[in-house]
Symmetry: C2
Subunit: 274 residues, 2 copies
């Protein structure tokens, strides 16, 4: 394929029929477009130094006011992996993958610093401070994901660690002011687990020019439902629409799998969220 | 320089004396290591299709359960830019940059869908649902940043939009359940505004193996304070240590610049944060 054909194919895989204008392009961008979350890993070790490279990429992401209120735990012990998999509702790829990272919102480190310096930090108990930590952990993690994928590795985020942040904290020995916001599996996909690029909502309802415009939403959603229903069928899942899946995921309190208690769990870990 | 020398130089720029083990490497990773936040832009237009490419990269990031609870507003109107700059405490690069994006936590779109489908989504009022939206906005934004930088553009995140989320929402016509979590300037740096790669804390206190270990923190921080003091001096800022800057940034309620009221502002925008 020519570069232009490859770009069109990448955009079509990501957007189905709703392909956006083709703009500037390169190998880094092509790699991002090709992202798939992988949920089955070979037990093959990563090249030496991979974790350090992923961390260097992660730490190179922007961090609010250079506060660096995030950390990572690499979970190696099989018993600890089993606890993580259990918290996440039995996701076996957490046991399989050669590298499993837990990204932490970590305001504890700076809090300890303030106390050591005789200036307890007044900003610590606020929702803002937790949010900065969670966002900065996400920016860092996404750099690690892009770096991993550029090296031919696959990944999947594990938001289900938030089903029980206290169990995660206890297992990883987290100090106060520190909580796992999500996990990340890294490794080589099992044959057949590589997956297919998942279509997203058209740019027309995600990107707004000047002011938010919801007017096309219902029409666009109907087309996307058809797209996602085909995707699901091709990938041997039930041929559900996107609408049906969103409703299944957040339609009921039960579907939150304990995450309706997230605020209380974070409070218990030292985040006041004022 | 040979590739190995370039990798060592990139790691040294990011970590100062505390260079980690050199692992696998490539051009995508080198690009991420070279990240600098830029606060001065030339008034040069971006190549046609750049915004669509950045959005395609952003939407290719993982999103929790494919909920896609984030959106973007591209702010083009100079009067709206002026409001954004004002909310952010007068950051003039918001006026200068050719592209200014506001990333939104957007649970409103799925909420409207549930109502249309006759199934109001029970998960909407929870902190978890806001957090998913904020994290997914951050993952998306970081892909846009990596894509932009791979195209030779520069960026800076504007967390200070959270100084007044209600003013941002009013200016951009945001519906309920939608809030700006941060802005992003994109463009070409002014001569002299390219900046220098900022050193980060050593991996030894960010990355934990198996369990969180805070024992080396104080020693490592002293070395990093020296590193950051030199960085600040070289870049014509006051030769402050990192410790001094963190204390200045979150040591007092006043330094939060209104963000101590974030929870109330989000409540007013339709996020119950239960």
């Amino acid at each position: 394929m020519t570069p232009t054909t490859m770009q069109q194919a990448a955009l079509a895989a990501r957007y189905g029929a709703a392909v956006p204008t083709a703009g500037p392009w390169n190998a880094t961008i092509a790699g991002m477009l090709d992202h798939r979350s992988v949920r089955g890993y070979r037990q093959a070790a990563l090249p030496s130094g991979t974790l350090e490279t992923l961390m260097a990429a992660a730490q190179s992401a922007a961090t609010s006011s250079n506060l660096q209120t995030w950390s990572v735990v690499s979970v190696e012990d099989p018993a600890a992996r089993a606890v993580m998999a259990d918290v996440a509702g039995g996701q076996k790829h957490i046991l399989e993958c050669p590298l499993f990272l837990v990204f932490l919102a970590d305001i504890g480190r700076n809090d300890r610093m303030g106390i050591e310096e005789g200036t307890p930090l007044a900003g610590m108990p606020y929702l803002e401070t937790f949010l900065v930590a969670a966002i900065d952990a996400a920016l860092a993690a996404q750099n690690a994901v892009v770096a991993a994928e550029s090296l031919g590795l696959s990944t999947v985020y594990i938001g289900a660690l938030r089903n029980d942040p206290q169990k995660v904290a206890e297992t990883l020995g987290l100090p106060p002011g520190t909580a796992g916001v999500f996990g990340l599996c890294v490794g080589y996909p099992k044959p057949g687990a590589e997956g297919e690029v998942k279509p997203r909502l058209p740019q027309s309802i995600i990107l707004h020019r000047g002011r938010y415009d919801a007017s096309a939403e219902t029409t666009v959603r109907a087309a996307y439902d058809t797209e996602m229903s085909s995707f699901s069928q091709r990938n041997e899942m039930a041929a559900d629409t996107w609408t049906a899946r969103v409703i299944a995921r957040i339609g009921t309190i039960k579907a939150l799998r304990g995450r309706d208690r997230l605020a209380a769990a974070l409070n218990a870990l030292g985040f006041q969220l004022k």
